[in-house]
Symmetry: C2
Subunit: 251 residues, 2 copies
DNA sequence: CGGTACGTTGAACAATGTCAAGCGTAGTGG
DNA sequence: CCACTACGCTTGACATTGTTCAACGTACCG
């Protein structure tokens, strides 16, 4: 917390147009922009600006007017809400290619923070709406992404409401592994960019229970903790069996 | 369960076009159809067919090919998933005007059953896609409804992950009350159409804990149980305070 | 008038959360 | 370079909470 606060004030957030051309963007095929043919991608480049975040830096806050939307190009964000008394629920993590602003109309319904240093493409809502009018395929793409987010959120409801702690953690590790694979990274030694507190607030547990669940999975030979933040999954199948739901059939 | 099974076989599900004209449909203003001007609503009436369900009758099953989409005109549905071992999570209840199929691409990602006798407008996906091409406002309306469902699902994650049982129940009662009001019904004596088991599977609890939470709210003078399925809320504000999140500020 | 399903309640038990201490690592300053 | 501090993670002991199991009451249905 102290680190967060101090870093928030020390340096201005970078906002430049210096990011590499959209045409050779690493997340092009996964992001909204996949809806635009190469010929039109220049349009997007024109209205886009790049934005960097330091770890734990706040990007948008619940209740704020939605003036911008974003595509994450590198790093990781957490989407969360808080109760008046400080309890926090992380509803999901955003990975490169993910879009920030899918659920919101005029105001952000949740806050978003960088988990690790991150870079985003930013678009003003006005520009984006303009682009959607000219390229209807953008609307379809956004709608598709929203449907996907809705399916994921509902699957999360199952995880939160009906899985035991060890099952929750197993499903979380499989999710991370699956996500890494989807982005062309190695899917097995899974790297945890987020803290135990983040994991706890995502899975509806305490950090102690998260820690104990790691130990249980390790004791049962299902995972190996290479270091605190690196998990080697011994057998995807057995871990999936523990997770209760067959992650492979979904997502 | 026995009742469900027997009733499922006894009578054929009605499928007629006999429902009153769309133009004087009770849920017109809340449903997808609100996107169509009066002049075009005839188009919708042409491709629509009516479908009735008895209590506990299954409408669609997780994994089935999505051939039809629906608008609920009366009654109530539950949307749910199940784990291999029988654990169930209800991700939400559908009320008149709600659309079934928001989250799905080609297959239904969840099952849907009638909680009480229900009537729906059914559309074949092909017809609906055709209509969307001719009336782009339909796409925008569906997108808007999907965003709303996503916000609701994420708020549910907070309820499931971070609220205590009594808080969960309080937020649930407020949700029902809010929903009734939205549909022009009295918002205070709240009628529970669903069983304790449904409530438990929605809130991630057991029926016993649900029952005890009802008792606690009653003992604290926050609600009054007129009968098992009718709850009088003594003070919306105090109940909202118990719920932790101010339901009024959201949804 | 039984029988069945549903809801409530109680008591014992198991699981998770809470509180507190300890460990290891990383970063800081002497 | 080393001690010191701070932070995050783990672990243990304990308290709280929810679950399980069982009994009871009630309403509905045959």
């Amino acid at each position: 917390m102290i680190a967060t606060t101090s870093s928030t004030h020390s340096i201005m957030t970078k906002r430049t147009k210096s990011c590499g051309a959209c045409s050779d963007c690493a997340v092009r095929s996964m992001a909204v922009c996949a809806a635009l043919p190469d010929a039109e991608i220049g349009e997007f480049e024109r209205i886009m600006s790049s934005q960097s975040l330091r770890a734990n830096e706040l990007l948008v806050e619940e209740g704020d007017e939605k003036k911008k939307v974003f595509t994450l190009t590198s790093g990781m964000l957490r989407l969360f809400s808080m109760l008046p008394d400080g309890r926090r629920q992380i509803s999901g993590f955003l990975f490169p290619g993910d879009y920030l602003g899918l659920a919101d109309d005029d105001t952000y319904s949740q806050s978003a923070e960088a988990v690790i240093p991150s870079v985003l493409c930013a678009f003003s809502v006005a520009d984006m709406e303009d682009a959607m009018e000219r390229f209807p395929s953008l609307i379809l793409r956004l709608h598709e992404m929203t449907r996907h987010a809705l399916r994921q959120s509902r699957e999360n409801q199952m995880v939160l409401g009906r899985l035991a702690p060890v099952e929750k953690l197993a499903s979380f590790l499989l999710l991370l592994s699956h996500n890494a694979k989807k982005r062309g990274e190695p899917d097995n030694p899974v790297h945890l960019d987020m803290s135990r507190t983040d994991i706890a607030d995502y899975l509806g547990l305490t950090i102690e229970t998260v820690s104990r669940s790691f130990t249980k999975l390790r004791t049962q030979g299902l995972i190996q903790l290479i270091d605190t933040n690196t998990v080697e999954i011994q057998s995807m199948r057995s871990l999936a069996a523990v997770a209760g739901l067959d992650i492979f059939n979904k997502i």
